[in-house]
Symmetry: C2
């Protein structure tokens, strides 16, 4: 199943084809793809080049995958169990530049994961990010130091058909993709004042 | 001047070629490119599909560009003055889903700006993001409501040669690009325990 974004303006094909499936086939992800994906993350921009991103990666059948699965909320466990790869994204809260709290570490980690998602699409893989997990449980299980914080969990894998999912998830998989129009998010002169660009 | 990332593993050409120049030519950015760029932002993923991103966009010569310029720290004003387009990224701190503070709005806005950066590269344009600006001054000038927060400022434009910049910036423009190796950021079983992927 494809779910291309119904765009008003032309965007890069990999951005257009990107979405967050819940169904993944049991095909494993090659080591080469994983290497390329984390190399893409590596080259994201960040404030003061702090590179505050860290990742914990588990492969189905290994201990790390089981531990990441344990941090997910029940709802996410029910579909993410199909995914061959589970990842935790973690951010460093303190800037290496000056030892003070970083104002942008979450933003920077988000950019790094966007690079991951984009590279994954280039590798023929899909990513589904989740806020629904316990950062506290992750901190305990993986002994994450105090200066760091687990931010999201995400799956990587080959997209499967909706029928691989339990019924309610299969319905969600087929639901329409919705976004606020770009013109409602882009302002000039004053917040909320729509620009004349669209 | 090109500054491709010296990658250990293969990544998408647009990610490889991406960097954050300070020199921009005086060539203006087309309306079509700007439309495509914010359409790309629109289709970023976000927690609960909250889409917490908002943008204020200024074009050199207009009032909004001058106002965004005024929020930048002196250091950034000195080079960003070349850029034909200045943008403020803004995040909604409260989730539309439940009215509570969003844990991931900064992360989500980061992903949206990564989409912008990627689409800009596809349009032949470069982006340079800045943490060095006054979010408070931005809030005052643009009447940003309390539920929202300015996160970064960034330039968009056609990359120029280093010689367009003042001397110290020209030197910085030519400096080597540095990143921690991917293997230092990817762990298994326990935080800090390197995976055997690299």
């Amino acid at each position: 199943m494809e779910k291309p974004a119904i765009t008003k303006f032309e965007i890069h094909p990999l951005l257009k084809q990107r979405w967050s499936p819940r169904s993944f086939t049991d095909q494993s992800v090659t080591k080469e793809s994983i290497q390329n994906i984390f190399e893409a993350a590596r080259w994201a921009p960040s404030s003061s080049n702090d590179q505050p991103w860290r990742f914990i990666v588990g492969f189905k059948g290994d201990k790390t995958w089981d531990m990441i699965m344990e941090t997910l909320v029940d709802f996410n466990q029910k579909w993410a169990k199909l995914a061959p790869v589970l990842v935790l994204s973690i951010g460093k809260k303190i800037s290496d530049k000056n030892g003070k709290p970083s104002r942008t570490f979450m933003y920077d980690v988000g950019q790094s994961v966007a690079h991951i998602t984009f590279q994954a699409m280039y590798e023929g893989l899909f990513v589904h990010q989740m806020g629904g997990f316990s950062a506290q449980k992750a901190a305990e299980l993986f002994k994450i130091p105090e200066d760091y914080q687990a931010i999201t969990a995400f799956t990587i894998g080959h997209k499967g058909e909706p029928e691989l999912l339990e019924e309610n998830f299969a319905d969600m998989e087929k639901s329409e993709r919705i976004r606020r129009p770009a013109e409602d998010s882009v302002f000039s002169e004053s917040f909320g004042n729509k620009s004349n660009l669209f």
